[in-house]
């Protein structure tokens, strides 16, 4: 895009600046619109599985429900509890929201449509997603209230636990692809399964990794059945209890942007990202962006499906799954995958 702006007669610095800013806007604005629609989709899917109708009043089929909700919270009064630590209380939702958007900078939407095609892309995603916990912890502490604080404690323990196993799972993918660059990881998946299926998930060694990654990403985004940080039967609304108005909305937007990010990572790392599902020439006529979007939406459906059908975990079960099951298994698979690659690819 820099070259395009340069052709309009700008100097290189200005062209780069304008290209970057417009790239950020091109990702962030559709993403926020997408988040609004995905909240609607989540509620519709959830309703359909419970044999209800879901939102159906505002706009055709209730399509505008999220915007009505947005307008509602926008007009609400912002309440700051008198015992709260005001500065941190107000910064916390901004942190959650910003961090949720930041990680999208390295996601390849199609072969060329990626804002920052950096060689440490996957590490960047890991780094940014490890920041997500701060929004929750700050909110829980600054609210100066019992339930938000419990929720913050749970959130930090949960995210640290699952980040460890996610790290090992990603190492397996990186070992196989031989790079941290997300675009190159997608390219490495071309014709990976039986020479025709695009995606690491069709690899017998990496398929269990994908299953664990899917479950870990549910836990990492605090979606059901791992939504213990906002378990309404125990903690009211968790760390969001004291929030109202736009601060509350920022949490919702951030949460769903994170969910979409995890869906995008599932698609990019294990199902070939912007590649079509099958390695057939005529499928490449459809632009990569469409394939990527379809895969993300499919994974979002899986997330909603899980939310609608699986009962919530107990906290000790959650910790057991993270530390006693996922951690040893993923560590074992790192050894297994690197051993296999040493024998076959690098022939020691």
């Amino acid at each position: 895009m820099t070259a395009f702006f340069q052709s309009l007669g700008m100097s290189y610095e200005w062209a780069w600046f304008v290209a970057t800013v417009s790239g950020i806007l091109l990702i962030a604005l559709p993403l926020l619109l997408g988040v609004a629609m995905i909240i609607y989709a989540d509620r519709k899917i959830w309703a359909a599985m419970a044999l209800r109708r879901g939102p159906n009043v505002v706009g055709p089929f209730g399509l505008l429900q999220s915007f009505a909700d947005g307008l509602k919270v926008f007009l609400q009064e912002t309440i700051v509890p008198s015992a709260a630590n005001k500065a941190i209380f107000l910064i916390a939702p901004v942190v959650t929201f910003t961090v949720a958007l930041m990680a999208w900078a390295v996601i390849p939407f199609s072969e060329l449509a990626v804002l920052a095609d950096i060689n440490v892309g996957l590490l960047y995603v890991l780094a940014i997603s490890s920041l997500g916990v701060y929004g929750t912890v700050m909110a829980g502490w600054a609210s100066n209230s019992k339930y938000p604080f419990f929720s913050a404690m749970r959130a930090s323990a949960q995210m640290i636990s699952y980040e460890v196993s996610i790290g090992f799972i990603l190492i397996c993918v990186v070992l196989w692809a031989g790079t941290f660059n997300l675009n190159d990881i997608v390219r490495a998946q071309q014709g990976h399964g039986l020479g025709i299926l695009n995606g690491f998930a069709f690899n017998i060694l990496l398929f269990p990794m994908w299953v664990m990654f899917l479950i870990s990403s549910l836990a990492e985004t605090q979606r059901a059945p791992f939504d213990l940080t906002e378990a309404e039967s125990e903690l009211v609304a968790g760390y969001q209890t004291e929030y109202s108005s736009m601060a509350f909305a920022a949490y919702w937007l951030g949460e769903y942007a994170n969910v979409l990010l995890m869906c995008a990572l599932n698609a990019t790392l294990f199902f070939g990202g912007w590649l079509p599902p099958l390695d057939l020439p005529f499928l490449y006529i459809v632009p990569g962006f469409v394939w990527f979007l379809l895969k993300v939406l499919f994974f979002f459906f899986v997330f909603s499906w899980v939310k609608a059908t699986v009962p919530r975990y107990r906290y000790d079960q959650l910790m057991r799954l993270g530390w006693k099951v996922f951690l040893p298994v993923s560590l074992g698979f790192v050894v297994l995958v690197s051993g296999y690659l040493m024998l076959t690819r690098y022939t020691v």
Partner: protein, 205 residues
């Protein structure tokens, strides 16, 4: 141009938030400023072309170590006024630490002036060997030239970890643990029974 601007932005923020970390009265605020300092230090590392180290800094320090700091500080409810009372008593120790830090800084600047080691240049050009990404360069060094040291460090860490586990592990006989396999294999007929009592007779348990 943008290099210079980004450098001064990150540098000022790093130094500033570092200063506020030790000046702030609230320990939780201190930790949050420390996190900002870590983050800006990572930004500085990106500027000199060490993006791998920068990402590791964020993942390890911001993502794990600082979260534990925050956890502990929030739980402990430290009274800082009480800690401040020991200022005069600890003053000589503080002076000693300051002198050591100053000496190290002078040494560091002297060594930089001498210019013996060419690790990187201020503008980031030549920070990594040509045609190699950061990760490849570090990997080649760690798993080639420094393989023995790297593995020795790994083993020392492993021993430290085992030591920590051994120190904190204690066998308690009065606690009943869960046996997940036993719980899952339990069937309804083992735990319940269907009875049809006569009216007025009730059931004996």
């Amino acid at each position: 141009m943008i290099h210079v601007f980004a450098f001064y932005l990150f540098a000022v923020l790093t130094v500033g938030s570092g200063a506020i970390t030790i000046l702030s009265r609230n320990p939780v605020h201190s930790v949050l400023w420390l996190i900002l300092a870590f983050f800006n230090a990572a930004g500085l590392m990106v500027l000199v072309g060490a993006e791998f180290i920068a990402m590791l800094l964020v993942i390890v320090y911001v993502g794990a170590v600082a979260v534990l700091f925050l956890f502990v500080v929030m739980m402990l409810n430290i009274d800082f006024a009480e800690l401040r009372a020991g200022f005069i008593k600890n003053f000589p120790l503080g002076v000693l630490v300051a002198v050591v830090l100053l000496a190290e800084m002078v040494l560091g600047i002297g060594a930089y002036r001498a210019g013996a080691m060419e690790l990187g240049t201020p503008d980031g050009i030549g920070a990594t060997p040509a045609g190699m990404t950061n990760i490849e360069a570090i990997g080649a060094l760690l798993y080639g030239r420094y393989l023995f040291l790297f593995e020795a460090a790994g083993i020392i860490l492993l021993i430290a970890m085992i030591g920590a586990i051994v120190l904190t592990l204690r066998q308690r006989s009065d606690v009943r643990g869960q046996n997940i396999g036993k719980q899952i294999s339990r069937r309804p007929q083992d735990a319940t029974r269907n009875v049809n009592p006569e009216v007025g007779k009730g059931v004996t348990l």
